[in-house]
Structure formats: C-alpha cells, structure tokens
C-alpha cells in the first residue's frame, strides 16, 4: 500500500453504498435502466435490509480506506421487514459520534431513505454525497491514489 499522495483538485472520493434489496438497490437498478447519470465514485453492495448493517461493517469499510459510506434504504414505516431501517438509523447515529471522536469526521457516514420508485432521488443523493466528500478531502486512512 502506497501513501495516498492526492492533490485536492484531482481527488475523487471512493464511496461505499450499502443499499437494501427492496428499496435502495431497487432504486439504483431503476436509475440504471432509466439511464439516469450518477457518479461512478459509488460502489454498491446489496444487503437484504439496512438493519443488517452493524458497526463492524461500517468501521471495516473506513479501515479499508473508503472516503465515505452511505446507507440507502426504505422510508421509515415502509421497511420490508417492518423496522430494520429504524435500527440502521440508531447504528448510524452512534457510529457518527465515534467517527468524530477518532477524527474520521462523522459527515463521512450517511443514511438516506429512497424507495424503489425514487430512482432520480437515488442519483441526486449520491451526487450530493460525492460533492460533500470532495470538499472534505480524502479519508485519513486512505492509502491508494485512485482514478475512479
């Protein structure tokens, strides 16, 4: 692993997107089929429910070197498994605080509610997150230069 030697202007954030099977991932699918453009910075991993996402998964991603992690799932009250997204909100709250404490900036973690039919919202949310991460700069744990 080389030290990241990336200039602010050239910096492209690498983002992990954890999308739930029923809403988030389905929205991403729709966006793809509708040919809606969204930044290639995001790497999507499918989970069955955002409720499956725990601290280890997220911290592991940051340790790996992701500049940002975004959880995309069902609206509150519409979780396919009833309350999984509520748990996800709580987990994200806690981890944000920890990230702040260890200097990893809580803003690098986000959760968004996007239902399966909201493909444009998916694209919008990803675009906004990537812009914000560009401004924040690379994660202190980032070891690779990358062209995404």
């Amino acid at each position: 692993m080389k030290d990241a030697n990336i200039s602010r202007e050239e910096f492209e954030p690498i983002v992990l997107g954890l999308a739930c099977n029923w809403c988030g991932y389905a929205a991403a699918d729709q966006a793809g089929m509708a040919k809606i453009q969204y930044p290639t910075n995001i790497k999507l991993a499918r989970v069955m429910c955002l409720g499956t996402v725990d601290a280890y998964l997220v911290m592991n991603a940051f340790h790996k070197g992701f500049d940002g992690v975004i959880l995309i799932g069902c609206h509150i009250g519409e979780c396919h498994y009833v309350s999984g997204n509520k748990n996800a909100l709580l987990v994200v709250e806690r981890i944000k605080k920890i990230l702040d404490i260890i200097g990893l900036q809580g803003e690098r973690l986000r959760v968004e509610e996007v239902s399966a039919g909201e493909a444009p919202k998916f694209a919008k949310v990803v675009k906004e997150f990537v812009e914000e991460l560009k401004a924040l700069g690379p994660s202190p744990l980032r070891r690779t230069e990358a062209k995404v």
Binding site: I14, L16, K43, L44, A45, V47, M48, C49, G51, T52, V53, D54, Y56, L57, N60, A61, K64, G65, F66, G77, H80, Y81, V82, S83, G84, N87, V91, T144, A146, K147, V148
Partner: protein
C-alpha cells in the same frame, strides 16, 4: 307498676330493651353498668334513644349490695364506683373499685340484665375448651378436638346475637358437607367464593361511577308519642325507600333468584355453567377485530357539553325504527324533532401529522358516504322540509355509484359548506346551537342556528392491543394491523400464518370488508391446504455452541421466527417463519446467528472487492495470471 322505681343492672342491648319497656309501663328507670360509657356493648343509637326517653344511664357503677326491708322487699342498691376494668390472664374481666365511694340508689325493683353464659355441663370430656371456658374450634373448619364433632355460635364465640349464631351454623354446615364429601371448600362452593370476589371487584370498579350518598334518615316517633309500645322507627316513605334502594351498588349482579331459568322455554339457562378456558390448536388465525369510534369529547364542537351535539352512530341509532327513539331523529335536550341539522365531517380524521386535538392523520374513508346516506334518509323518510348542512373539506365519494349518489343528494337541497366550523355556541334557553363556519367557496363567515349537530367521527382500530401483542403482529403508526404489502398482499400480516381483514387493517366500508375477508379466508385456506410450504433458502441459522440464550434475537424479530429454546438453552429458528432480513445477526452479542448464504464474511469480501475494483489494479491482477 305505674310510678315505681326500677334499677336495671347491665350495659348491653338486653338492659336497654328492658329499660325502654319499663319506661313505657310508667316506671322511673335507672341503668347501672360496670362498663364505661364508650365501652357499653349496647348499640350507640339505642343508648341515645334510651336517654332521650328519660332513662338515667350511669356507667362505671357496680352494685355492691342489695338492701331490703324487714318484710323482705327490696329498698335500695348499694353501689360503688368502678375505677377501671382489668383483664385476667384467663381472659375474664375484673373490675377495680374506688374505695370509699359507696352510695345508695333507692328503688322498688331490680332487674338483672348482665348476660348469659353457655351451659357446658352436658358436653363430653375430651372436648377442648379455651381460657374462657368456651369450646375451642378451628376458625376455618369449625372442627373441635373430637373427630366428627363441630361447634359454633355462642358456645364458641360467647354470648352474641341470633344472627351471628345462624351465620355460624350455616358456615359450619358447609364445612361439614366438604368434610363428608372429601372435597375442598373452593371446589364444593365455587360459586360462593366467586360471588364474594365478584362483589369486591364490582365495588372497586364502580367506585367512581356511583355518587356517594349517606343512608336515609329513619323517621322516628316523636318523644311525646312514645307512651305505648308502638314501633319507634316509622319506616321510609316510598320515595325515600326507592332512593335508598338506588344506593345499592348491585355488586352481586345476578341475585341468583333463578327466575330466568324457570321461565326459559328453550331450557337455555345453565345456572351452574362455569367459565371455561378451551385451548384450541390451529394452523392459521384471521384477525377481524373491526374498529371503534373516535371520542370527540376533547374537540371544540361541544360534544359531551351541549346535549344536542351527537355523532353519526348515535343519529343512526335514533333513526333505527327499533331504536331508543322508535325511529325519530330527536334533540336530546327536549325530545323535539330535529328540523335543522348540521353535519361536520372529518371529526378526528385528517388531523395532520401532529395529530391535532388528539385526532388521527388518516382519512376514515366511510364518513362522507355515511353523511350523505343520513342526509338522504332524513330528507326522504323523516322531514322533507328539513334543513341539512354538511360542513366538509371535500366529499369523498370514491366507490361504484357513489358519485351519482352524491349528485342525487345535492338535488335534494342539502347544502354543502366547504369549511369546518371554528366555533359552536349554545343558546341557553332553547339549547339551539349556533355554528360559526367560513364557507371558503364564497369567502363568507356564516352563523347558522340549528337544532342538532351531527359529528362524522373517525374510525379507530379496536383497543385490543393486548391481543395483537400476544399474536405478535406488527401494527402501523395509527395502530391498525400492518398488512404485509398494501397492494399485493393486503390480507397477510408479518406473521406467516396470521391474516387480517376488514376495519382492523384500515378504515373501510362493507363492500371492501367483504372483499378483503374473502381474500383472508382464501389465503388462510390455501396456506393450510397446500400440504407444503416453500422455504426461503436465505434464512437465519444458529450455532448453538456460540449462543448463550440471551433472547435479544427473539425480541428483535418481527416475524416470530427465532425463539430461545429453554431446554436446549440456545436460540432456534422457525424456518417457515423466517424472512431472512438478518436483524437477529446484528443484535446477537456472540455472533451465533447468521443468515444462510449471506454471511458477514461474504459481505466483507464483497466490500473488499469493491474497494479493489480500480482499473489499474484490475490490469495488474490480470497481468499476473498466466
């Protein structure tokens, strides 16, 4: 007898009875007793009445000697003051006299009314007695120290009343029956045990409902008229008696007279029927618990304060020919026919996310059609010339033929006001209601005087949340049973073998309820009749070596799919119920639960791969492989 002086010795009811009888025979009576005034065993009221009738009562006095004349006739009683009464170790009482306080009371007669004692001389030996010389019995079973010998009444309790003795006898008789039949008291006399529990329960529950009223004051014969033996307590008048009877809390409910049993020709009454809890094992459950009416008492429409504000349900009851008003729409305040009626829609519904005034955010769906129906009925069958207003936000006539119905009602002359009233005032004398509402269509502020205001109240899910909790089905924010999918599977719940239909799932009218009930029945039947269930391959599994039975997974699961097995001391997955969401894996502190074919290491590997998924790296990797 007339004019003679009598001393009555005793402080109990017998002494009082004696004294009050003597007074009516023309004697001059003095009562003396050992006890201090507060300790006199006689009924307090009797003591007061006796004194009012002219009897001199001297407590804390003991007779010392009876003095007579040489002819053998009584002349006086030598008395002494009682300092106090001590209790001997064996229970008997010992009065302590004040030395030197002797005095005489002149009298012609002395009557002793100092109580009786049981004659125990005939009783067999071996019958254990207590310190007072009375038979010793077990308080509950009335058994004595001799087998098959029981005792009660004065022989056990000392001299008391006839009623107490009869009570004692009855209780002992029941115990004897239990001993002879070799059953326990609650088994044999379950209904009596239940009666006392029922009575106590009814008293507690109704405390707030009944207004506390004092006992009726018994009218008494005036003192001047008490020369004869006429009854002193005159009895209550009819009104007083009825009022006194109304104080009864009716805690027993049924008075066990069994008249209903005698009268029933179908022999349908079983007096000895008991509540039975019958366990039924089923493969599927259909929830059809319906709805309840929103209570508009906290809103500003005056329900509960103004008598002429009612709900649509109450109006419907009145319009029912078999109902409480025989089918007439009347004003509750004076029973007059209501000719000017104003209906208010969305009472408790559409209250926004903040649940304004305790209302609900949802639309209750049926109330617009109910209002139209009632307006049409009033115009057609009750009062053709009735003036009817319907205040609304909009009229929702969504079903087949509903819009046409709405148009028809408009042609009948029913006025639709687009706006909900801001204030309703009541006219003090007439109890008419003045409704203040802005008609948004014409931007005018109206003040409409009406006879009756009818509120179209929201429907709410039944408060059977205890039942729903036990079933473990999820509910939505408003408390209705949550359907698995609102469009595709509206009769399924989150639990695979529990189905839902009707207003329990959400407000709906009869046609929609019938349709959904058919669906629920069919879903339950096909679930049961299939003969097999398709399992999701991606379901949770537990490693029992890691599981420490903390129960967090069981608590977290929305589908009742994972439970701690107390015998195995490990969680176990109910495969048919598991939906594979993986929430249990996150809350498990030891990592004992995982989802088949969706393990954490698979996800981590995928994330790793995503990070490595960079064009140059891919080229590097590809270059390596031959």
């Amino acid at each position: 007898m007339e004019g003679s002086r009598v001393v009555v010795v005793g402080g109990g009811n017998a002494a009082i009875d004696t004294a009050r009888t003597l007074v009516r025979l023309g004697c001059k009576v003095t009562m003396i007793c050992l006890e201090a005034r507060e300790a006199m065993p006689a009924i307090k009221e009797e003591i007061l009445e006796a004194e009012a009738e002219g009897i001199e009562i001297r407590p804390s006095i003991s007779p010392k000697r009876f003095l007579g004349d040489p002819g053998g006739r009584v002349k006086a009683v030598e008395c002494i003051e009682v300092e106090r009464i001590d209790q001997r170790p064996d229970g008997r009482l010992k009065p302590i006299f004040r030395e030197g306080t002797e005095f005489n009371i002149d009298t012609d007669r002395i009557i002793l009314a100092i109580g009786n004692r049981s004659d125990v001389t005939f009783l067999p030996s071996g019958l254990e007695a207590d310190e007072r010389g009375l038979i010793r019995v077990d308080r509950d079973t009335f058994r004595t120290s001799l087998p098959q010998v029981y005792a009660g009444g004065d022989l056990v309790n000392g001299p008391t009343s006839v009623v107490a003795a009869m009570n004692s006898g009855k209780l002992a008789a029941r115990r004897i029956v239990c001993d002879l039949e070799k059953v326990t008291y609650p088994e044999r006399f379950q209904d009596l045990v239940e009666l006392s529990i029922r009575a106590e329960d009814a008293v507690q529950r109704n405390r707030g409902y009944f207004e506390p009223k004092p006992r009726a004051r018994m009218p008494r014969l005036p003192l001047d008229d008490r020369k004869s033996f006429q009854e002193v307590e005159l009895g209550l008048s009819e009104e007083e008696a009825i009022a006194e009877a109304k104080r009864c809390l009716n805690c027993g409910g049924c008075s066990d007279c069994r008249e209903c049993e005698k009268v029933c020709e179908a022999k349908a009454i079983d007096y000895y029927q008991r509540e039975e809890i019958i366990p039924v094992t089923v493969g599927a459950v259909v929830i059809a618990t319906g709805f309840e009416e929103f209570d508009p008492v906290n809103l500003h429409y005056g329900y509960g304060r103004y008598p002429n504000v009612v709900t649509q349900f109450q109006a419907a009851r009145m319009m029912d020919p078999l109902g409480p008003t025989q089918g007439r729409l009347l004003r509750p305040s004076d029973g007059q026919e209501a000719k000017r009626i104003l209906m208010i829609q969305c009472v408790g519904s559409r209250a926004g996310e903040q649940n304004l005034q305790g209302g609900h955010p949802y639309c209750s769906r049926v109330c617009c059609m109910v209002a139209l129906k009632h307006a049409s009925l009033i115009k057609k069958y009750f009062a053709e010339d009735a003036q009817i207003y319907i205040c609304n936000i909009d009229i929702r006539a969504f079903g087949k033929g509903y819009e046409e119905y709405y148009e028809k009602v408009k042609t009948m002359g029913v006025k639709f006001i687009k706006g909900l009233p801001g204030e309703i005032l009541e006219e003090k004398e007439t109890k008419d209601l003045i409704v203040h509402v802005e008609d948004m269509a014409t931007s005018t502020l109206l003040e409409i005087p009406v006879d009756l205001v009818v509120l179209s109240t929201a429907t709410e899910p039944t408060q059977s949340s205890d039942l729903l909790k036990k079933l473990g089905v999820a509910r939505d924010e408003s408390g209705f049973v949550k359907e698995f999918h609102p469009k595709i599977r509206p009769a399924d719940t989150t639990v695979k073998n529990i189905f839902v239909c009707g207003a329990a799932q959400g407000p709906k009218d009869i046609s929609d309820t019938i349709a959904q009930s058919g669906l629920a029945a069919m879903a339950a039947a096909s679930y049961l009749g299939e003969g097999y269930v398709l399992l999701n391959p991606q379901i949770a599994e537990v490693n029992p070596d890691l599981c420490r039975a903390c129960g967090r997974c069981e608590k977290e699961c929305e589908f009742q799919a994972i439970r701690v097995d107390q015998e195995l001391l490990s969680a176990a997955v109910e495969e048919v119920m598991c939906e594979g969401c993986g929430k249990c894996t996150v809350v498990c502190p030891t990592g004992a639960v995982s989802v088949k074919s969706f393990k954490e290491k698979q996800l981590l590997a995928a994330i790793d791969g995503l990070f490595e998924d960079l064009p140059e790296r891919a080229e590097e990797e590809m270059a390596k492989t031959p």
